[in-house]
Structures are given as structure tokens and as C-alpha cells.
Symmetry: C2
Subunit: 688 residues, 2 copies
Amino acid sequence: MVRWRNLQLVILPDNGRCFCEAARTGAPKFANWDCLEGFSCPRRVLPAATRRFHRPTCLRDQRAEVPSFLETYKQAVEFPPATHDFETFLARAEPNTEVVLHGYLGPRADLSKKLSFVKLTDPTMKYSLQVVAFAKNDAFEKLKALNANSPVAVRGTVQKKKAKASDTADQPAEDMWELALEDINALNDFPKDIIMTPETVFAPEQRYLQLRSDAELREALRFRAQVRNVCKKELEENSQPPFVEIETPLLFKSTPEGAREFLVPTRRPGLAYALPQSPQQYKQILMASGLPRYFQFARCFRDEDLRADRQPEFTQLDLEMSFAKGEDVMRTIEGVIRRLWSTLMKDPAPEGPFRRLPYQEAMARYGSDKPDTRYGMEIIRLDHALPVDLVNKISGLQDPIVEAFKVESNENDPAETGQFIAQFLDSPAGAPFNNNPDGGPGVFVYNGKQPLCGLQPFGFEAAEQVEEILEPDHGDLIILQARPRAPFSGGSTPIGDLRRALHAFAVSTGFKPAPTGFDFMWVVDFPLFSPSSDSEPGQGGAAGIASTHHPFTAPKTAADVDMLLSDPTQAVADHYDLVVNGVELGGGSRRIHDAAVQEFILRDILKMPAERLADFSHLLDALRAGCPPHAGLALGFDRLVAVMLGKESVRDVIAFPKTGKGGDDAMVRAPSPMTAEALETYHLRLRE
Amino acid sequence: MVRWRNLQLVILPDNGRCFCEAARTGAPKFANWDCLEGFSCPRRVLPAATRRFHRPTCLRDQRAEVPSFLETYKQAVEFPPATHDFETFLARAEPNTEVVLHGYLGPRADLSKKLSFVKLTDPTMKYSLQVVAFAKNDAFEKLKALNANSPVAVRGTVQKKKAKASDTADQPAEDMWELALEDINALNDFPKDIIMTPETVFAPEQRYLQLRSDAELREALRFRAQVRNVCKKELEENSQPPFVEIETPLLFKSTPEGAREFLVPTRRPGLAYALPQSPQQYKQILMASGLPRYFQFARCFRDEDLRADRQPEFTQLDLEMSFAKGEDVMRTIEGVIRRLWSTLMKDPAPEGPFRRLPYQEAMARYGSDKPDTRYGMEIIRLDHALPVDLVNKISGLQDPIVEAFKVESNENDPAETGQFIAQFLDSPAGAPFNNNPDGGPGVFVYNGKQPLCGLQPFGFEAAEQVEEILEPDHGDLIILQARPRAPFSGGSTPIGDLRRALHAFAVSTGFKPAPTGFDFMWVVDFPLFSPSSDSEPGQGGAAGIASTHHPFTAPKTAADVDMLLSDPTQAVADHYDLVVNGVELGGGSRRIHDAAVQEFILRDILKMPAERLADFSHLLDALRAGCPPHAGLALGFDRLVAVMLGKESVRDVIAFPKTGKGGDDAMVRAPSPMTAEALETYHLRLRE
């Protein structure tokens, strides 16, 4: 038991050095100095000057004196409760009444030695009120000892502000009232050396300062909560039977579905849980369990490298419905989106069902399975029209597919267009396209003042065809790009990437206006299977193909079921991605609800080894017990909120995002080293 | 690329053996038989007879034939959408209209070769409707081929049921209407050999069957969603400023707060995240970030052994408020509880603020820090009144504290009372009390017909005092129990445990009636620090004491702040536990909001080594940046729902609970072995 009666505390003076520096220079001396060894300098966050360290030192036979920081704290322990929140106060303020308000101090203006003004901002930092302090009582001196941004409790008398010439009838209540200071309780101290303005950008380590100084960021979190509520309301109130929010486990099992899973070792040697990539299997089992409508804001995990729109942990609005097909899910989600837009956005979402764009068409016309279709620049296949020598010039490929798109110029000025495309190709955004091993882009500026309007390399005949197909105007840009002659697979083509990058560059340089509005669509008719690559963690099958999305996706029609036997790569999936403005908001599918078919796909099509197949036995057993047909979807919730707020990164709508490339939480410094003790508990050793 | 054109499928006959058995006995032969090696028998769940396995075998130059299970599935791919959900249908049924309804078949009654009746139960399994099938079309035969419980889509003509004598005006709509079968789509098959009645108890592996057969369990999940919504509504709508639902990370950092944490290794050698025991630190940082009211239904994790009321992952309603003291949080939670009870329960919660019971008083009067106070049996200290030789008889301890309680007998029959207590002490529930090394319970039956009413061992004088203190009636039981002379610490005393166990036994045997109603209270004034034991993972300090709850708990008053210097073990915490009927629903505290004080507690009182202290630097930095005072609480959400529904175990209110002692999910079989590949990815090896 520690006894404190014989201790006295000595406080290291706040002398602008953090403790480890003080130790090095040996400034102060303490009886138990040696205990400090091994202390790592935590100076990385705040400037050294603000750090204080307190050390007790044994001085025998002295009574304890209460150190000043405990005295300060005792003052803050007891503070008067607020009589009003600001919103209520401003709505019902009455002159000459006494109120207590809580909040943060603003910067103080000392008008004279006897008169100061200071703003008091409420705890939500939405409202503020002027406080007038006269040198008539202690409170005046107390106020003067406090730094701006410090939390306080203020007691004061309500008084009407003197009217100014500029006042209008509808001026905000904040401008009508002020408080004559009677007393003030300092609740904590804001360090003088932290500079905090609405413009300050703090390091990720100081997320709390970013949140506190950045009203837009705090508002994004409030907005996120509203988005959540609207989604919930629509699912719970506008569906019959209603969707029910059901939680599913996060300590799940490793099953090979796609991305790499985080493992959670247990104290039983060699056994681990896995954190789920999605609640997919549990929600399907709910459908087999007589719970026909499920939803959840589910935390999901993927052990993948960080990108602007991807976090190792993320939230999805996850749902599933039984006795349902893909169409039912799409209609449900359209209802959610429509309600979100009509409730929370400036303009409602477009009327009627969202457009359906088949995967093959999306890839052909936009070179992307999540196209932004608002800005034209549609891709058109041209190889049939091109002379062989031109094709040979733009690609070293044997008999390639050649596609083209046109960028319309606003100014009809070929020189300006030429300058724009040269600038793009010289920029970091353009570089990867120049270095395409299948050949860089072929660039032509349509120019009525040149022979064949600048299309000489096409030859007369092809130039005429190209004009007929693309209908270019004076000053427009024509881009050609070759790719190998093969069916579409994956999320984009080189010309699709080029279209996107070139458009982004055109917007950022002012060559094109930024597109506006929200263009919702469902991209549908994905192939059920795609060629698998060895480099990524896959579904563990040996067939050379993998499910394009996940192995529980159902074939779309009876004809696609037949295709499973004749040529599975030709089978179309009942999968649908919700895409808006080039962003994939989420995706879903009808699932295979028949155990025999599911087993056939895992075993005979994907050629999973028997031991991996056994990992799915719980799902097969659940399907086998008379599971009804079902379909569902997951919306990337972080991304949905980011899109609604027009934010580039999901980090701007997450309170504490991971920021480092390795998935670091820079603020708490996670991940951190496993201790020898922890490794032993979990029967593990580090590999050398 | 796999080519399937040359494959034919052979289906293993459903011959009552699972595949591995078939393999052992060698019944069927396939071309690629050898691939089956290493297949582990998944027979644990369904009876072997229901398992079917399908194997392709290469037979050259044969065209594919579509195997029957794919043909069956093709039928289920296309099915008509329901024209109505049952609720809408029953409200608006019109005779002679044609409808399509989805649902599950009930058992079929064949009245003749040409007439059958079958119930159709809707997807929620709340409603059902009679279907009449005549042998006039295909549908009749299709129906007869289907097992009960199979999911179907039924097309039929609505007709009014013939009125019966027993019919009343307010009979349910289900009994007024029936459907004449026109067509039926089989959507899946329910195996004949699964016996499913409302009474069947399925193994944890078959949770989906339990959920599907057990209406009460499904209803518990719906109720849980309602509880969630009511809590949310109260916090969002009835607080000014409103609480905002904010998600905090689950990939957190290992910090020494109490329970053992699960680790999540990363691909960076030796580094791991930890899953949070609670969002404690993040929510405190939110308070420093200008977000004054936070709540979240937070998933939390503790690597501890399973108990009926404890899961390795659990959900808590977590909240925090700034510019607030403990009282503000208690008032908020009383509002939540009151709204829950008035909205969802039979009787509303009692009016007015909940009773406050100080820890010392709870321990003295009930021997528990979460007492059920509804049934009396209050504990009274007796050692001052007892003769030394009696004390020596009931305990080998030197100068023990002796406490007593009385169990009133309803029958006033000493013989019955004697039998009851003997039965208890002989039962498994009573055994641990007999084996108490500090002495077993002293048992006395008050009996007016015996000398000194059965209190002879007390001697005349003490017996008289005991009668005065306990006021026993004829047939009442008096229990004495000794314990070492030491201050209260921990959650209960031996006599408190005895009181609880004896009462539970009395209720289970009918000796006492079960107490009714809900008795809410706040247990307050816990000691800030308690002696720490080496056996449990603690806060990593070297002081021999640990924070009773967690090291962020604030001392209650200025006097308790002073106590930090003079005798920290005497300091009282501003901590509060919400207790109802002997169950702790949750707890919370005011937090230390001052960095210097927090650092002082961690470093100088708990004597954490510097490197552990550095783990908290993010929190200290956030407090240092002018953090306002704040307080919060976490309600065990699983337990709250269980208490509201009168369930013994939280497992009855969780869709997929862990059931094994080691935290197993028996259904999906998690945890599971880590593969060599996974270990390598995370730079780990198993310890031999």
C-alpha cells in the first residue's frame, strides 16, 4: 500500500523544455531521479513549452502540501450547473435575470483597465454571446487570468444590448443580448501556445484540435448521424414487413471470400477468429432463420493498403430480404436514396427508377464499371475504320481493338486545345498513359484550317468515316487508344482511365466546367466469374477463375444457370452496383439459396479444395434447411456520406480515421508493438 | 480456363450416408475419386441422411445433361412477386380476386384424393392463411410433392370462409378468408427428416433452426431493435443539445485498463491493433473536440472466459457529455429507462429520481454492490452482541466480523424451515458456503417451542439481543457468517453471496415467492482505488492498488482530491452503477478532465512505468488542450434487453451468441486454425 503522507510534490518549472530535455541538461534534481530512465519523449504533439511533468520526491517528516495543479482541479470539480443551454436561452432571454451558461471563452478585448469584453461560445460552438466584465468584483480578475478557448461556467445578468444604427428587426438573438459578468469558474486551461483559427490544419496526431477548430468537420459528423437516421427510418417505416436492425458477430471465422482478413488469435493454441469483411454469411443465415428483412450499420474489416476512399475498418449499411429478387432490393435502395436526397440535400434525387446500365455497355461506352456519364466523352470503337499503318503507329499489339473519344472544346480554338492536351500528357496525371506498353494515346486536334482537318494520318477514307462517327467541331480533341483483343474484365479499360483522368484534368485547369447534379444508375449484368490472379488473396479455388464479386452470387436467369455447365465464364450474375457520378456507392446481389447449387459452384466450378469447402458447411446447412430465395446489398456508408457532402475523402466524414499508409491511427499511435507477455498469452512468437 | 462442355454430373444417391461414409464404404465410384482425400466430414449438424454431395466425373465426348438439382433451381429462379404482404392482404382482402402470396407451407391435410387443405404462413411467421387445393390443375400435384415448412409462392383466388357457429364478429381476419389454389412455385425444399415443432430445442450448431422454430427468440430480436430505437429517440430528441451518434474505431491500441484485450496482428512485423474494451478514450477525446453529447451502440471486446451474462463481444449503449457531472448523466439515463419502460413494458418505471445507495451501505446491508433489495433479508452486524465461544464455533478467524440475516418463513413451521435449509446446504448451490475456509454459515431456526427459542448457543444475554435486533418469528431462519476484519472491497461478501444464493434456492423450491417489479437504484460512492491482485490483467501499475473501475474516474469532491495525497485508498469516486433487481445494467463516472491530475494518478498513484504512461499520451494531450469537464456511462445493452424480457441469459437476446466456454461460435465453428500462410503474412509462428 502506498502511503502519501510523507511525500511532497515538486513541480518542474514550465521552462520551455520537456522533461527528457530537462533530464539531459540536468537542470532540476529529484531524490528519485533514476526512475525516469526509459521514459520516451512524447514531445511529438504539442510544442515542448506546454508540457509539464510532476515528480514526487521523498522528503522525510514534512507534511503534504497540496500542489497547485490539485488546487486548480478542486476549483473545477465544483462548478454551477448551467441554467440554460444557449438555444433555449436565446429563445427566451429576459432582461435583468441571472443565468449560468457553460461554454468556451473567445479572445478578450480590454477596453480599459476596468472594462473588458469577451465572447462566450456555447458547448456546441454554434452560438455565442457577448459578456461584459466590469472591475467591480473578483470575476473581473478571474476572467483576465484566463486564456481564450478555455472552458468556463459564467454567471451573469442578462441585459439588452444597446441598439445600433445597423440593427434590423430580424437580427439574430445573439446580437440582441449580452451578459454582465457576475462570476466565472475556470474549468480548464487552454494552452496559450496552441494557435487555433478556423483555417489551421492540424497534424493527424491532433485530431481533437482539428475537430474543435473545424466547424465543417464537426458538422459532417452530425450530418452523418442524420444520414443514418433517414436510412433507418425508410427501412423501418416504409417497408412491409419492416426491416429489423440485427447485430451480427464481429468475432467470425476465416473464410475465403476475397480480401485479406484480419485475424484475432485466441488463448487456445493456434486458433483464431477473423474479423468479417462483411456480415454476408450471417445475414444469409438470418434469411434461412425466418427473419425476412434485416439491416445493420455493420463495421467491416479488410487488411488492405490504405487509399483515400478505403479504410481498414469501414461501415456499411448492410441489408438482406428473403422471398426477394435483385429488383426488390434495388427498389428498396432507390427509396432510401430518394428519401435521403429529399430530406437532407438541396435538390431531390431524379424521379422514377434509376437507369440500368449493363456491365458490357458501361465498359464499351465509358471504359469503366462505375462511369460518370454526365460529361459525354463517350468511347466508340474505331478499329474497323482505321488503316493498318495508323494502327501500327499507335500500338505494337497484333490486331488490337482501337477505341476513341472526343473532347469538345468550348473555345473552338485548336491552339488552345493542343496546349491543353500537351499540358496533360506532360503532367503526373498524364504520365502513366504515355507509358502504356500497349501504346500511348493517339492525339488529334480537329482543325478546319489544316489539310483533312488535321486527320491526315487517317488517310482520306478513314478521316471521312471518323468525321461521320465522331462529328468533331473545329478545335475538338480526338483521342485514340489501343488495347488487346479480349473480352472486358475488371473495373476499367485504359481508354476508360484516360477518359476519367483527362476530364478531371480539364476541370481542374478550367478547360471544361465541373459537371453538376447527381446521376444515379445501377450497373448490372456483371459476369458471374472472372479470371483470377495469383497475386491477390482470392477464394482459394484452383479453377483459374474466381467469383467476380463473391461466390454466393446467383446467376441471373435460367439461361445463366444452364451456362454453368456449358461455359461458366459466359454466365451473367444477378449483381447490381449503385453508381453515382463515377463513384460506386455499394453493390449487392441475389444469392444462391439452394445448397446443392451453392456446393456445385464452390466445389465444381471454383474447384475449392475439400477443406476450404468445409469452411462453408454452416452456410450450406442453413440453405439446405428450406431457405427461401433472398437478395441484399451493402452501401459503403462512409462513402455515401462523403458523396452527399461533396468530400473527396471518407476521412472527412469519420471522427477518427486511420491516416497512415499502413493503416495507422496517428493520434493513439496504433498499431503498437505486441509485448512478450501478450505473445505468450496467445502462444505466438515473432518470426525472425 | 475451365471448359465444362465435356463434363457430365453424377449425383450421389441420397442413400442415408454422408459423403465421407460413402467414401469409406466405397459405394459409388468416380473418375476423380482421389480429389476427395482430405475432406473432413461435416456431419456434425444435420442428420447424415439429409446430406447430399455432387461430384462431376469426366466422360469424354458426351454432351452435358443438366443435372436435376440445377433444373429444380431454374424453377426457383423465376417466381412471381407477391401482390401483397399478409398484413396488407388481411386488412384489405376482397373476394374473387387473384393474389400471389409468399410464405412457408404448413402440414397438409388430404381430405380426399381430390381435396387438400394446407396452411400458408407468411415470411414473418406471424400470420397464416388456409389454402384449399382441388385436383383441377397441376397445382394440386405440385403441392402434394412439397414438404411442410418449404418456402413457396402461391397464386390463388380469395374466398370467404364458410361461417361456423363459433364465429364471432371480432374474429381475426386470418379466420375469415381462404385461398383457392391456382398455382404454386416451390422455392426450396425443407428436408423431411428435420423435426421442427415450437418445442424443439436445437443444438447451438443449428441456430438457424432454433430461430426459425422459436417465435419468442425471433420476437426477442425484434424487441431488441425497438429498445435500441427508444434509447436513441430519447437521447436525440429529449436532450438539449441533442446527443449525436458517432462511431469510434474498433482497431484501437492496447492500453492497460483492466480486462484482457484481443489483439489484431498487422502485416508490419510485431505490430498489432487491440480491440477496445470500450470506446472510453475515444469518447473522452470527443469531449475535448467540441462535440458535447456523444452516444453509440458500441461493440466491445474482452478476452475473458464465457459466463451466462458475458460474451467475448458485447454491445453497450455508450454515452458521454461535456460540461457535465455524474448527476447529469444519471438524470439522462433515468430518462432513457423511464421512456423504455413506459413505451415497451407492462408497467412504467417508478416516478422520481432513482434511489442512491452508497457502496459501503450496499455492502453492509446486502453484502453486494449490485443488491436485489426487493426481498428483505437485510444483513446486520452482530459480532458486538455475540459471546466469544459462539464466534469461535462458527469461524477459525481471529476476531472476525460476524454478520447475520433473517429468512422469514411463510408457514411459521420450524420443521419445514429446518428441512429447507438442510436441503440448501446439501445442494450444489449450498456447497461452496459450507466449504468457506473462514467458517461455514451458522444456522438457527427460531422455534418458540424450544429453550431460548432455539437460540441456546447464543447464551441468554446474546439471544435476547439477537431477538431485539432481528425480531424473528416462530419458524424463521437466522443465518450467521464470519469474515475477516477488513474494509469492504470487491463486489460482494460471503454473507452477501449466501443471501443471494439462499433466496434463489427459496424461490426455486417454492419456500419463498419470486419477487416482482423493477427496483432501480444507483449504487454510488465506490472507492476510487482497490487493492490489485496479481492474478488478473490489470492496469500495469506497481502500486499494489488499481483503479476500482478505470484510471480515468474522477474523485467525487474536493475532499477526495485532497485524499489523493493523504490516503488515496480513502478517496471516493464519482462513479455510479445502475442496478435493478440484483443485476448491474451499467456504470459510469465523471472523468478526470485535467491532464496534470490524470498524469499524477497514472504515474504517481498507480505507479505506472513510464513506457505504459506513454501509451496514454494521446489522452493526456487531448485533456491538456482545454478539455471541459465531462462524465458518461455505458449500459450493457445485451443485459438491458435480457432484463426487460425476463431472460436469464444474454444469449436469448443475441442472434448469434458465442456458446462454448472458450467463446466458440458453434454454428460457424469459430475460432478456427490459423493457416501457415496466415501466420507467415503476420510474421508469426506458433509457440511449441
